[in-house]
């Protein structure tokens, strides 16, 4: 489990779950795409509470390995400025058979997206916007008081 600023590697992630008893390997790669909710996106800036993110990813991995017999999982998440097509997250799972490998990989990415403290800002022609938190949207009133601008 890792959070890093450098490009992610599918091979490296897979290598950590490979073992002789695992006949199935599943991989998920989450990639920056060029639009979000109808807005054009040119870049995404990811940030993390890195020390907690690693621990939370490890807690998730322990849960899944307990829940699914014979499964091993690993993931890495990238932070920093990413462009369209860059891998933001890689999840890998191994298990004796394919059903458990797919299931473990799916649980891993779902729980990472739900619980791991990573955030992103979309950068596009319409401006910069934090993803996922409506309450953060600035109000005109807020601008008047704080004197900042976007």
């Amino acid at each position: 489990m890792d959070v890093r600023e450098t490009p992610l590697s599918v091979d490296e992630t897979l290598a950590t779950v490979r073992r002789p008893g695992a006949g199935g390997l599943a991989v998920f790669v989450g990639v920056v795409r060029d639009e979000s909710a109808g807005r054009v996106v040119t870049k995404l800036e990811y940030s993390a509470y890195a020390s907690m993110a690693k621990k939370e990813m490890e807690r998730i991995a322990d849960e899944i390995e307990r829940e699914i017999e014979g499964a091993r999982v690993a993931a890495m998440h990238r932070v920093g400025m990413l462009e369209v097509g860059d891998a933001a997250v890689i999840c890998a799972a191994s298990a004796p058979h394919r059903a458990e490998a797919f299931q473990a990989c799916r649980l891993l990415i779902d729980r990472i997206k739900e619980r791991v403290p990573v955030w992103k800002r979309e950068i596009g022609p319409d401006g910069i916007e934090w993803v996922g938190w409506e309450d953060a949207r600035c109000t005109p009133d807020h601008h008047d008081h704080k004197g900042h601008h976007h």
């Binding site: 993390a48 509470y49 907690m52 621990k55 403290p117 800002r121 934090w130 996922g132």
Partner: protein, 80 residues
């Protein structure tokens, strides 16, 4: 008690700092949420979907804080 308080992402933008040491009278995570919303006016009314981490683990609302804790405000996460 003295706490280290961490702010991330949109919460950091609202508060204006990434980290600070604060004196807190004691209590639960819920009490701390009320305290921090008073301390930083832009957080008022915006904490409904913010979670709190205590020493790098998600904390429940009734968890009691201890001197020296590191408390992080975790706005909705958006990894992947």
């Amino acid at each position: 008690m003295t706490l280290t308080v961490l702010y991330f992402a949109a919460v950091r933008d609202l508060v204006g700092v990434s980290e600070e040491r604060l004196e807190f009278g004691g209590g639960t995570i819920s009490d701390f949420a009320a305290f921090i919303a008073e301390k930083h006016e832009p957080l008022k009314g915006r904490l409904a979907s913010v979670r709190f981490a205590r020493n790098e683990s998600f904390a429940t609302n009734d968890e009691r804080l201890e001197d020296g804790d590191t408390i992080a405000l975790i706005p909705p996460v958006a990894g992947g």
